[in-house]
Symmetry: none
Protein backbone atom coordinates (compact mmCIF):
# COMPACT_ATOMS: atom_id res chain seq x y z
CA UNK A 1 0.00 0.00 0.00
CA UNK A 2 2.86 2.36 0.72
CA UNK A 3 4.33 1.56 -2.63
CA UNK A 4 1.03 2.32 -4.28
CA UNK A 5 0.77 5.52 -2.31
CA UNK A 6 4.16 6.57 -3.58
CA UNK A 7 3.28 5.59 -7.11
CA UNK A 8 0.02 7.48 -7.22
CA UNK A 9 1.53 10.58 -5.73
CA UNK A 10 0.11 10.48 -2.23
CA UNK A 11 3.70 10.67 -1.11
CA UNK A 12 6.01 12.68 -3.31
CA UNK A 13 9.75 12.67 -3.49
CA UNK A 14 11.04 14.35 -0.39
CA UNK A 15 8.01 13.53 1.69
CA UNK A 16 8.28 11.76 4.97
CA UNK A 17 6.53 8.44 5.32
CA UNK A 18 4.80 7.62 8.59
CA UNK A 19 7.15 6.30 11.23
CA UNK A 20 7.12 2.68 12.14
CA UNK A 21 5.07 3.32 15.21
CA UNK A 22 2.55 5.31 13.26
CA UNK A 23 2.20 2.51 10.78
CA UNK A 24 1.66 0.10 13.64
CA UNK A 25 -1.15 2.22 14.96
CA UNK A 26 -2.61 3.00 11.56
CA UNK A 27 -2.89 -0.54 10.29
CA UNK A 28 -2.93 -2.44 13.54
CA UNK A 29 0.22 -4.36 12.83
CA UNK A 30 3.34 -5.03 14.80
CA UNK A 31 6.41 -2.94 14.39
CA UNK A 32 8.11 -5.92 12.88
CA UNK A 33 5.66 -6.05 10.03
CA UNK A 34 5.85 -2.33 9.50
CA UNK A 35 9.61 -2.59 9.38
CA UNK A 36 9.41 -5.32 6.78
CA UNK A 37 7.27 -3.12 4.59
CA UNK A 38 9.63 -0.17 4.90
CA UNK A 39 12.57 -2.46 4.36
CA UNK A 40 11.15 -3.59 1.06
CA UNK A 41 10.74 -0.01 -0.03
CA UNK A 42 14.24 0.78 1.10
CA UNK A 43 15.69 -2.17 -0.77
CA UNK A 44 13.78 -1.11 -3.83
CA UNK A 45 15.53 2.23 -3.57
CA UNK A 46 12.31 4.14 -3.19
CA UNK A 47 13.02 5.52 0.23
CA UNK A 48 15.97 6.34 2.42
CA UNK A 49 15.84 5.67 6.09
CA UNK A 50 17.77 7.57 8.69
CA UNK A 51 17.68 7.36 12.40
CA UNK A 52 15.79 10.10 14.06
CA UNK A 53 15.10 11.67 10.68
CA UNK A 54 12.59 9.10 9.49
CA UNK A 55 11.84 7.56 6.15
CA UNK A 56 12.09 9.85 3.18
CA UNK A 57 10.84 9.16 -0.32
CA UNK A 58 13.80 9.43 -2.65
CA UNK A 59 12.45 8.07 -5.91
CA UNK A 60 9.04 7.78 -7.51
CA UNK A 61 7.73 4.23 -7.59
CA UNK A 62 7.34 2.60 -10.92
CA UNK A 63 4.48 0.17 -10.95
CA UNK A 64 5.80 -3.36 -11.01
CA UNK A 65 5.18 -4.67 -14.48
CA UNK A 66 5.34 -8.19 -15.77
CA UNK A 67 5.82 -7.68 -19.42
CA UNK A 68 7.09 -10.90 -20.83
CA UNK A 69 5.17 -13.82 -22.27
CA UNK A 70 1.62 -13.35 -21.07
CA UNK A 71 -0.19 -14.57 -24.13
CA UNK A 72 -3.49 -13.20 -25.27
CA UNK A 73 -6.47 -12.11 -23.33
CA UNK A 74 -8.07 -15.52 -23.56
CA UNK A 75 -5.02 -16.92 -21.93
CA UNK A 76 -5.35 -14.35 -19.26
CA UNK A 77 -8.96 -15.35 -18.73
CA UNK A 78 -8.02 -19.00 -18.66
CA UNK A 79 -5.28 -18.24 -16.24
CA UNK A 80 -7.74 -16.36 -14.11
CA UNK A 81 -10.12 -19.30 -14.18
CA UNK A 82 -7.40 -21.76 -13.31
CA UNK A 83 -6.12 -19.61 -10.55
CA UNK A 84 -9.69 -19.02 -9.39
CA UNK A 85 -9.28 -15.32 -9.70
CA UNK A 86 -12.31 -13.12 -9.73
CA UNK A 87 -13.07 -11.30 -12.94
CA UNK A 88 -15.06 -8.13 -12.55
CA UNK A 89 -16.05 -5.33 -14.78
CA UNK A 90 -17.42 -1.93 -14.34
CA UNK A 91 -19.04 0.19 -16.93
CA UNK A 92 -21.48 -1.16 -19.52
CA UNK A 93 -21.12 -4.66 -20.85
CA UNK A 94 -19.20 -4.85 -24.09
CA UNK A 95 -21.09 -5.31 -27.29
CA UNK A 96 -21.80 -8.94 -27.99
CA UNK A 97 -19.90 -8.98 -31.22
CA UNK A 98 -16.91 -7.35 -29.72
CA UNK A 99 -17.06 -9.49 -26.61
CA UNK A 100 -17.25 -12.58 -28.75
CA UNK A 101 -14.31 -11.44 -30.74
CA UNK A 102 -12.39 -11.01 -27.58
CA UNK A 103 -13.29 -14.45 -26.40
CA UNK A 104 -15.28 -13.11 -23.53
CA UNK A 105 -18.32 -14.85 -22.18
CA UNK A 106 -20.66 -12.06 -21.25
CA UNK A 107 -22.87 -14.30 -19.16
CA UNK A 108 -21.88 -15.35 -15.73
CA UNK A 109 -18.45 -13.94 -15.74
CA UNK A 110 -19.54 -10.42 -15.73
CA UNK A 111 -20.38 -8.64 -12.60
CA UNK A 112 -21.46 -5.25 -13.64
CA UNK A 113 -20.34 -2.60 -11.29
CA UNK A 114 -21.10 1.05 -11.17
CA UNK A 115 -19.58 3.16 -13.84
CA UNK A 116 -16.58 4.90 -12.54
CA UNK A 117 -15.57 8.21 -13.84
CA UNK A 118 -17.70 10.60 -15.81
CA UNK A 119 -15.20 12.05 -18.19
CA UNK A 120 -15.86 11.88 -21.91
CA UNK A 121 -13.34 9.14 -22.34
CA UNK A 122 -15.32 6.88 -20.07
CA UNK A 123 -18.29 6.76 -22.45
CA UNK A 124 -18.86 3.28 -23.70
CA UNK A 125 -15.82 1.96 -21.97
CA UNK A 126 -16.03 -1.34 -20.22
CA UNK A 127 -13.28 -2.11 -17.81
CA UNK A 128 -12.15 -5.41 -16.53
CA UNK A 129 -10.26 -6.01 -13.38
CA UNK A 130 -9.15 -9.45 -12.43
CA UNK A 131 -8.94 -9.74 -8.74
CA UNK A 132 -6.53 -12.10 -7.09
CA UNK A 133 -6.51 -13.40 -3.59
CA UNK A 134 -2.80 -13.53 -3.85
CA UNK A 135 -0.47 -11.94 -6.31
CA UNK A 136 1.41 -14.63 -8.18
CA UNK A 137 5.08 -14.12 -8.06
CA UNK A 138 5.33 -14.65 -11.74
CA UNK A 139 2.65 -15.08 -14.29
CA UNK A 140 3.13 -18.49 -15.79
CA UNK A 141 1.03 -18.26 -18.87
CA UNK A 142 2.59 -19.88 -21.87
CA UNK A 143 3.64 -17.71 -24.71
CA UNK A 144 1.06 -17.94 -27.42
CA UNK A 145 -0.44 -15.95 -30.32
CA UNK A 146 -1.61 -12.65 -29.05
CA UNK A 147 -5.15 -11.50 -29.04
CA UNK A 148 -4.32 -9.52 -32.10
CA UNK A 149 -3.92 -12.74 -34.00
CA UNK A 150 -7.32 -13.90 -32.86
CA UNK A 151 -8.89 -10.66 -33.99
CA UNK A 152 -7.19 -10.89 -37.29
CA UNK A 153 -8.43 -14.45 -37.79
CA UNK A 154 -12.02 -13.70 -36.92
CA UNK A 155 -12.53 -10.25 -38.27
CA UNK A 156 -9.89 -10.07 -40.88
CA UNK A 157 -8.57 -6.88 -39.44
CA UNK A 158 -5.09 -6.13 -38.41
CA UNK A 159 -4.14 -4.46 -35.21
CA UNK A 160 -1.64 -1.78 -35.93
CA UNK A 161 -0.50 -1.39 -32.40
CA UNK A 162 0.00 -3.96 -29.78
CA UNK A 163 0.92 -3.27 -26.23
CA UNK A 164 0.26 -5.72 -23.54
CA UNK A 165 1.25 -6.01 -19.99
CA UNK A 166 0.02 -7.29 -16.71
CA UNK A 167 0.69 -5.68 -13.42
CA UNK A 168 0.35 -6.99 -9.93
CA UNK A 169 -0.85 -4.22 -7.72
CA UNK A 170 -2.36 -3.43 -4.39
CA UNK A 171 -5.74 -1.78 -4.25
CA UNK A 172 -5.93 1.60 -2.65
CA UNK A 173 -8.93 2.70 -0.68
CA UNK A 174 -11.12 4.23 -3.39
CA UNK A 175 -10.69 1.44 -5.88
CA UNK A 176 -11.11 -1.14 -3.19
CA UNK A 177 -14.39 0.42 -2.23
CA UNK A 178 -15.48 0.49 -5.82
CA UNK A 179 -14.72 -3.16 -6.23
CA UNK A 180 -16.18 -4.21 -2.96
CA UNK A 181 -13.03 -5.44 -1.39
CA UNK A 182 -10.59 -4.17 1.16
CA UNK A 183 -7.73 -1.76 0.70
CA UNK A 184 -4.51 -3.64 0.42
CA UNK A 185 -6.05 -6.54 -1.47
CA UNK A 186 -4.08 -7.76 -4.41
CA UNK A 187 -5.24 -7.30 -7.94
CA UNK A 188 -3.97 -8.01 -11.38
CA UNK A 189 -4.27 -5.13 -13.74
CA UNK A 190 -4.27 -6.01 -17.38
CA UNK A 191 -3.53 -3.68 -20.16
CA UNK A 192 -3.64 -4.00 -23.85
CA UNK A 193 -3.75 -1.57 -26.67
CA UNK A 194 -4.99 -2.40 -30.14
CA UNK A 195 -5.79 0.07 -32.80
CA UNK A 196 -7.03 -0.69 -36.24
CA UNK A 197 -7.36 2.42 -38.32
CA UNK A 198 -8.87 0.60 -41.24
CA UNK A 199 -11.94 -0.46 -39.32
CA UNK A 200 -11.88 2.36 -36.86
CA UNK A 201 -11.65 -0.23 -34.14
CA UNK A 202 -9.97 0.90 -31.04
CA UNK A 203 -9.36 -1.43 -28.18
CA UNK A 204 -7.61 0.31 -25.45
CA UNK A 205 -6.76 0.17 -21.84
CA UNK A 206 -7.16 3.49 -20.21
CA UNK A 207 -7.53 4.99 -16.86
CA UNK A 208 -10.97 6.08 -15.80
CA UNK A 209 -9.79 9.39 -14.50
CA UNK A 210 -6.83 11.16 -15.99
CA UNK A 211 -5.93 12.02 -12.42
CA UNK A 212 -5.47 8.34 -11.67
CA UNK A 213 -1.90 7.39 -12.15
CA UNK A 214 -2.86 3.77 -12.33
CA UNK A 215 -4.40 2.00 -15.22
CA UNK A 216 -6.65 -0.39 -13.49
CA UNK A 217 -8.67 -1.78 -16.25
CA UNK A 218 -8.94 -3.68 -19.43
CA UNK A 219 -11.11 -1.64 -21.73
CA UNK A 220 -12.97 -2.50 -24.85
CA UNK A 221 -14.36 0.41 -26.75
CA UNK A 222 -14.65 1.98 -30.09
CA UNK A 223 -13.48 5.32 -31.25
CA UNK A 224 -15.76 8.09 -30.15
CA UNK A 225 -16.65 8.93 -33.70
CA UNK A 226 -17.80 5.40 -34.29
Amino acid sequence: MLRAAITNGTYKVGDLLPTEQELCALHDISRHTARDALRLLSEAGLVTRKRRAGTIVTAPAEPAVFVQPLGGFQDLLQYARDAQLKIMTYGPAPEDGLAQAMGLDTAGWWELRGQRGTGPKAVGVTRVLIRADCVPERAEIQAHPTIADAIEARFGIVATRIDQQITAMVLDAPLAQLLGTEPGAAALRTRRLYHDEQNNLFLASETAHPADRFVYSQSFTRERGD
Copy 2:
Protein backbone atom coordinates in the same frame (compact mmCIF):
# COMPACT_ATOMS: atom_id res chain seq x y z
CA MET B 1 30.36 -15.63 7.43
CA LEU B 2 28.04 -17.77 5.35
CA ARG B 3 28.81 -15.63 2.39
CA ALA B 4 32.50 -16.10 2.96
CA ALA B 5 31.95 -19.83 3.35
CA ILE B 6 30.22 -19.90 0.00
CA THR B 7 32.91 -17.79 -1.59
CA ASN B 8 35.79 -19.88 -0.36
CA GLY B 9 34.16 -23.12 -1.34
CA THR B 10 33.12 -24.49 2.02
CA TYR B 11 29.66 -24.66 0.54
CA LYS B 12 29.48 -25.41 -3.14
CA VAL B 13 26.67 -24.88 -5.56
CA GLY B 14 24.00 -27.43 -4.79
CA ASP B 15 24.99 -27.80 -1.17
CA LEU B 16 22.53 -27.35 1.61
CA LEU B 17 23.23 -24.65 4.13
CA PRO B 18 22.48 -25.29 7.78
CA THR B 19 18.86 -24.79 8.69
CA GLU B 20 17.84 -21.78 10.68
CA GLN B 21 17.66 -23.77 13.85
CA GLU B 22 21.08 -25.23 13.29
CA LEU B 23 22.47 -21.75 12.77
CA CYS B 24 20.83 -20.66 15.99
CA ALA B 25 22.52 -23.45 17.87
CA LEU B 26 25.85 -23.09 16.07
CA HIS B 27 26.33 -19.38 16.63
CA ASP B 28 24.11 -18.88 19.62
CA ILE B 29 21.82 -16.44 17.92
CA SER B 30 18.07 -16.17 17.65
CA ARG B 31 16.21 -17.56 14.72
CA HIS B 32 15.36 -14.05 13.72
CA THR B 33 19.00 -13.17 13.26
CA ALA B 34 19.72 -16.37 11.42
CA ARG B 35 16.80 -15.62 9.13
CA ASP B 36 18.16 -12.16 8.42
CA ALA B 37 21.47 -13.63 7.38
CA LEU B 38 19.85 -16.16 5.09
CA ARG B 39 17.55 -13.52 3.74
CA LEU B 40 20.50 -11.40 2.69
CA LEU B 41 21.99 -14.35 0.87
CA SER B 42 18.68 -15.06 -0.76
CA GLU B 43 18.26 -11.47 -1.88
CA ALA B 44 21.77 -11.56 -3.26
CA GLY B 45 20.71 -14.52 -5.36
CA LEU B 46 23.27 -16.80 -3.83
CA VAL B 47 20.84 -19.28 -2.36
CA THR B 48 17.32 -20.46 -2.93
CA ARG B 49 15.09 -21.20 -0.03
CA LYS B 50 12.23 -23.65 -0.09
CA ARG B 51 9.99 -24.84 2.61
CA ARG B 52 10.82 -28.18 3.94
CA ALA B 53 13.64 -28.48 1.44
CA GLY B 54 15.98 -26.03 3.10
CA THR B 55 18.43 -23.46 1.78
CA ILE B 56 20.39 -24.46 -1.29
CA VAL B 57 23.39 -22.69 -2.73
CA THR B 58 22.53 -21.71 -6.28
CA ALA B 59 25.37 -19.44 -7.26
CA PRO B 60 28.97 -19.00 -6.20
CA ALA B 61 29.54 -15.85 -4.19
CA GLU B 62 31.66 -13.20 -5.74
CA PRO B 63 33.57 -11.27 -3.14
CA ALA B 64 32.02 -7.86 -2.79
CA VAL B 65 34.39 -5.49 -4.51
CA PHE B 66 34.44 -1.75 -4.42
CA VAL B 67 36.33 -0.87 -7.50
CA GLN B 68 35.53 2.69 -8.31
CA PRO B 69 37.14 5.81 -6.96
CA LEU B 70 39.34 4.59 -4.15
CA GLY B 71 42.29 6.77 -4.74
CA GLY B 72 45.80 5.76 -3.84
CA PHE B 73 47.13 3.88 -0.90
CA GLN B 74 47.80 7.06 1.02
CA ASP B 75 44.18 7.93 0.65
CA LEU B 76 43.33 4.55 1.92
CA LEU B 77 45.54 5.08 4.92
CA GLN B 78 44.05 8.49 5.52
CA TYR B 79 40.62 7.03 5.22
CA ALA B 80 41.58 4.34 7.68
CA ARG B 81 42.86 6.95 10.09
CA ASP B 82 39.77 9.08 9.75
CA ALA B 83 37.52 6.13 10.21
CA GLN B 84 39.67 4.95 13.10
CA LEU B 85 40.25 1.65 11.44
CA LYS B 86 43.02 -0.56 12.65
CA ILE B 87 45.95 -1.05 10.35
CA MET B 88 47.94 -4.21 10.88
CA THR B 89 50.74 -5.92 9.10
CA TYR B 90 52.26 -9.28 9.21
CA GLY B 91 55.52 -10.35 7.79
CA PRO B 92 58.65 -8.20 8.02
CA ALA B 93 58.40 -4.45 8.06
CA PRO B 94 58.89 -2.86 4.68
CA GLU B 95 62.20 -1.29 3.88
CA ASP B 96 62.35 2.30 4.96
CA GLY B 97 62.88 3.64 1.50
CA LEU B 98 60.02 1.71 0.06
CA ALA B 99 57.80 2.50 2.98
CA GLN B 100 58.57 6.16 2.60
CA ALA B 101 57.81 5.99 -1.04
CA MET B 102 54.51 4.47 -0.22
CA GLY B 103 53.77 7.17 2.28
CA LEU B 104 53.79 4.67 5.11
CA ASP B 105 54.84 5.57 8.59
CA THR B 106 56.70 2.54 9.86
CA ALA B 107 56.61 3.69 13.45
CA GLY B 108 53.51 3.37 15.50
CA TRP B 109 51.17 2.25 12.81
CA TRP B 110 52.76 -1.07 12.39
CA GLU B 111 51.88 -3.98 14.50
CA LEU B 112 54.03 -6.79 13.38
CA ARG B 113 52.31 -10.08 13.35
CA GLY B 114 53.57 -13.54 12.73
CA GLN B 115 54.56 -14.43 9.24
CA ARG B 116 51.87 -16.41 7.62
CA GLY B 117 52.61 -18.86 4.93
CA THR B 118 55.92 -20.47 4.22
CA GLY B 119 55.89 -20.66 0.47
CA PRO B 120 58.71 -19.02 -1.48
CA LYS B 121 56.42 -16.22 -2.48
CA ALA B 122 56.03 -15.16 1.10
CA VAL B 123 59.70 -14.31 1.46
CA GLY B 124 60.19 -10.67 2.17
CA VAL B 125 56.55 -9.89 1.75
CA THR B 126 54.90 -7.52 4.10
CA ARG B 127 51.17 -7.61 4.18
CA VAL B 128 48.79 -4.99 5.37
CA LEU B 129 45.30 -5.55 6.50
CA ILE B 130 43.07 -2.74 7.54
CA ARG B 131 40.59 -3.87 10.05
CA ALA B 132 37.23 -2.23 10.44
CA ASP B 133 34.80 -2.52 13.26
CA CYS B 134 32.08 -2.07 10.76
CA VAL B 135 32.14 -2.53 7.04
CA PRO B 136 31.39 0.78 5.37
CA GLU B 137 28.57 0.50 2.94
CA ARG B 138 30.51 2.45 0.42
CA ALA B 139 34.05 3.56 0.48
CA GLU B 140 34.03 7.31 0.36
CA ILE B 141 37.55 8.09 -0.54
CA GLN B 142 37.93 10.87 -3.01
CA ALA B 143 39.19 10.06 -6.43
CA HIS B 144 42.79 11.15 -6.68
CA PRO B 145 46.05 10.32 -8.48
CA THR B 146 46.88 6.72 -7.90
CA ILE B 147 49.80 5.57 -5.91
CA ALA B 148 51.51 4.89 -9.17
CA ASP B 149 51.62 8.61 -9.80
CA ALA B 150 53.23 9.16 -6.42
CA ILE B 151 55.84 6.55 -7.16
CA GLU B 152 56.53 8.08 -10.49
CA ALA B 153 56.96 11.49 -8.97
CA ARG B 154 59.30 10.42 -6.23
CA PHE B 155 61.32 7.70 -7.86
CA GLY B 156 60.97 8.61 -11.45
CA ILE B 157 59.81 5.16 -12.31
CA VAL B 158 56.70 4.19 -14.11
CA ALA B 159 54.39 1.47 -13.01
CA THR B 160 53.54 -0.66 -15.96
CA ARG B 161 50.62 -2.36 -14.41
CA ILE B 162 48.01 -0.92 -12.17
CA ASP B 163 45.28 -2.83 -10.52
CA GLN B 164 43.60 -1.57 -7.45
CA GLN B 165 40.59 -2.60 -5.55
CA ILE B 166 39.28 -2.73 -2.05
CA THR B 167 37.07 -5.41 -0.70
CA ALA B 168 34.91 -5.47 2.34
CA MET B 169 35.02 -8.93 3.80
CA VAL B 170 34.30 -10.95 6.85
CA LEU B 171 37.10 -12.76 8.55
CA ASP B 172 36.90 -16.50 8.71
CA ALA B 173 38.26 -18.45 11.64
CA PRO B 174 41.90 -18.98 10.63
CA LEU B 175 42.52 -15.44 9.51
CA ALA B 176 40.70 -14.07 12.50
CA GLN B 177 42.98 -16.07 14.74
CA LEU B 178 46.00 -14.83 12.88
CA LEU B 179 44.94 -11.26 13.32
CA GLY B 180 43.89 -11.67 16.89
CA THR B 181 40.26 -10.90 16.37
CA GLU B 182 37.07 -12.86 16.19
CA PRO B 183 35.60 -14.74 13.28
CA GLY B 184 32.93 -12.67 11.65
CA ALA B 185 34.73 -9.41 12.24
CA ALA B 186 34.78 -7.02 9.34
CA ALA B 187 37.93 -6.26 7.43
CA LEU B 188 38.90 -4.20 4.45
CA ARG B 189 41.15 -6.02 2.09
CA THR B 190 43.22 -3.85 -0.15
CA ARG B 191 44.80 -4.92 -3.30
CA ARG B 192 47.13 -3.18 -5.66
CA LEU B 193 49.47 -4.36 -8.32
CA TYR B 194 52.37 -2.34 -9.58
CA HIS B 195 55.19 -3.63 -11.65
CA ASP B 196 58.05 -1.67 -12.94
CA GLU B 197 60.32 -3.73 -15.11
CA GLN B 198 62.84 -0.98 -15.61
CA ASN B 199 63.71 -0.82 -11.94
CA ASN B 200 62.82 -4.38 -11.18
CA LEU B 201 60.42 -3.05 -8.64
CA PHE B 202 57.46 -5.24 -7.94
CA LEU B 203 54.70 -4.18 -5.67
CA ALA B 204 52.07 -6.76 -5.55
CA SER B 205 49.15 -7.96 -3.58
CA GLU B 206 49.07 -11.68 -3.29
CA THR B 207 47.50 -14.32 -1.28
CA ALA B 208 49.63 -15.95 1.34
CA HIS B 209 48.54 -19.39 0.37
CA PRO B 210 47.51 -20.30 -3.13
CA ALA B 211 44.75 -22.34 -1.50
CA ASP B 212 43.26 -19.15 -0.11
CA ARG B 213 40.63 -17.85 -2.39
CA PHE B 214 40.80 -14.51 -0.70
CA VAL B 215 43.46 -11.93 -1.12
CA TYR B 216 43.71 -10.55 2.30
CA SER B 217 46.68 -8.35 2.13
CA GLN B 218 48.51 -5.44 0.73
CA SER B 219 52.01 -6.59 -0.06
CA PHE B 220 55.18 -4.67 -0.66
CA THR B 221 58.06 -6.65 -1.94
CA ARG B 222 60.77 -6.77 -4.52
CA GLU B 223 61.41 -9.32 -7.14
CA ARG B 224 63.13 -12.36 -5.78
CA GLY B 225 66.20 -11.79 -7.87
CA ASP B 226 66.55 -8.31 -6.47
